[in-house]
């Protein structure tokens, strides 16, 4: 393609379609315009709203300190897009270069960016999930409905699943003075993302703040009253929790179903792409014109053994979108890899929890500074003799320091004495992650690459 002018034609008068009108889609669109794309830009979103920010929905919105329909994302620049909102994409024809929409129309493209993200995993029993008072929390509409029910002063809230979102919801309930029970299948909150050592700290935080935390249990069924509202939940230990609001917080599912049969390498784990955000087709061949960004993408990362990572991280959505947009308009020699270091934050029970790297890859942890008892510490994760991740509770200013250690594959255990010489530090412990073959609701990083040690996958050859 180099030198034949086709890239110049694309910039001047091409058609770029972005499916997914959320954070990644918006930032990609802005980047395309910033880099001089003057052609037709179409933004497709299944929700009727312009791009909005989600993190406040489980934090200030549930606390009643911001309004759910006031989280529209600020624009960095004009994007002059043709908006198709409230219409889901339903199909992709890669040969014809056409996206099919739910209203029966089609949109043709020269370059396509897929940023369809994830949705909340619903309660598996559809009938029980449809009971009044049963919620999930992912979208603006979800947040409006849940906030309204909390404001009405329910007698008890049950949160199913103690990942980050579930913990934030429980925290908001307690701050509003509402009785709340949290049911978690694992032995502690947050174990999928941060392991059992940190999970134990999280469990104490829940209990100190008056959460009725039940671990090692599953909710086996929800019971409604004659009017169709939820009344109680049955737990696997035989106990019954009476609650009039139930929030199902069991993690997310990737929005890839609309790509079934398209020939794109898309499935429940996301859409596989190369480090430059170009999607793979089902044959493992990289496409030239289909790009992926945000929660729905999974791409290999040099710092983490070239495993395919899929990241449900705000910062990843921004960075990957910018890289995808840049690469869509670039010659192959000018393309950039997306090598963002995973980072996320959570705020619960008044404590700021932040992390960099991939803690869930770690096998050991050292409390490098601070103390768990004070809820102010830095935990550093080790994997095969190197630093692979770090987490802070109310100590986030140290994170950039540990991020550089991750980026430079610094040795683990840490070889230097830190400024903080309390006895807790300097001894690596088992980070205590659950068996990865046991499903957990809420890792925000999924290692989804194929490892030869992974015997749970089955190869089914296609017959021609």
């Amino acid at each position: 393609m180099s030198g034949d002018g086709s890239l110049e034609r694309l910039r001047r008068s091409g058609r770029i379609v972005v499916v997914g009108a959320s954070l990644a889609g918006l930032r990609a669109a802005e980047t395309l315009r910033e880099k001089g794309f003057a052609g037709t830009l179409t933004m497709i979103g299944d929700e009727p709203y312009e791009p909005y920010d989600r993190p406040p929905l489980s934090k200030q919105v549930l606390l009643g300190k911001a309004v759910a329909d006031h989280t529209a994302l600020p624009r960095r620049r004009r994007i002059d897009a043709d908006w198709r909102l409230g219409v889901p994409a339903t199909g992709l024809d890669m040969a014809e270069r056409v996206v099919r929409l739910g209203d029966g129309t089609e949109v043709g493209y020269d370059r396509l960016l897929i940023a369809t993200g994830v949705r909340a995993r619903p309660w598996p029993n559809e009938e029980e999930g449809a009971l009044g008072g049963v919620f999930v929390l992912r979208t603006r509409d979800d947040a409006v409905a849940l906030e309204r029910s909390l404001a009405a002063g329910p007698r008890r809230v049950l949160v199913i699943g103690a990942g980050f979102t579930g913990s934030e919801i429980a925290s908001a309930c307690r701050e509003r003075g509402l009785p709340v029970t949290v049911a978690e299948r694992a032995d502690a909150p947050l174990v999928g993302a941060l392991g059992g050592v940190i999970g134990a700290v999280a469990a104490e935080m829940h209990r100190e703040n008056g959460v009725d935390l039940r671990t090692g249990v599953m909710v086996t069924g929800l019971e409604g009253d004659p009017s169709g509202r939820v009344r109680a939940a049955h737990l696997s230990d035989g106990s019954v929790v009476e609650a009039d609001v139930v929030v199902v917080s069991l993690g997310a599912m990737r929005n890839t179903e609309w790509l079934a049969g398209s020939g794109l390498g898309a499935g429940p784990r996301g859409i596989a792409c190369d480090a430059g955000c170009r999607a793979f087709d089902v044959r493992g061949i990289v496409t030239d014109d289909v790009y992926v960004a945000g929660d729905v993408a999974r791409s290999p990362h040099a710092l983490f053994g070239y495993q395919f990572l899929s990241l449900e991280h705000w910062g990843n959505a921004v960075a990957q979108a910018e890289t995808a947009a840049h690469n869509m308009l670039s010659e192959s020699s000018d393309r950039r890899p997306h090598l963002w270091v995973p980072a996320f934050w959570s705020s619960q029970f008044g404590v700021n929890v932040k992390s960099v790297g991939v803690p869930s890859m770690g096998t050991e942890i050292m409390i490098a500074q601070g103390s768990r008892d004070e809820r102010r510490f830095t935990g550093v994760y080790g994997y095969q003799g190197r630093v692979i991740g770090a987490v802070t509770f109310d100590q986030c200013r140290w994170l950039p320091f540990y991020q550089r250690m991750i980026e430079t594959t610094a040795p683990f255990p840490l070889e230097f004495p830190t400024v903080d010489r309390r006895s807790e530090g300097n001894k690596p412990m088992d980070a205590d992650f659950p068996d990865p073959s046991v499903p957990t609701h809420g890792p925000t990083i999924t290692l989804s690459g194929y490892s030869p040690a992974d015997r749970r996958m089955t190869f089914v050859p296609a017959h021609h």
Binding site: K65, A66, L85, V87, G102, G315, F344, W345, N352
Partner: protein, 75 residues
């Protein structure tokens, strides 16, 4: 006035909460809560907060002139 804070960057310096207390507030020692759609009357305070943030984590709407799209398709 729309704004968003990159909370990966935010390190809890609390300059914003000091300069625009009607829009930004600390929750605990380090966590930041903010109003993502602050009232126009706070624009000057917010602009000062944007400028003062040591890690430049606050993004304020750049161009409010673009027509706001609304969903016209299926619901």
């Amino acid at each position: 006035m729309r704004l968003v804070v990159d909370l990966n960057r935010c390190q809890g310096y609390a300059q914003c909460a000091f300069l625009a207390p009607d829009v930004f507030a600390m929750h605990g020692d380090e966590s930041l809560l903010y109003d993502p759609e602050a009232a126009e009357e706070h624009r000057e305070d917010v602009a000062r907060a944007v400028a003062a943030c040591p890690v430049q984590a606050i993004l304020l709407q750049a161009d409010a002139d673009e027509p706001v799209p609304t969903g016209g398709g299926l619901r």
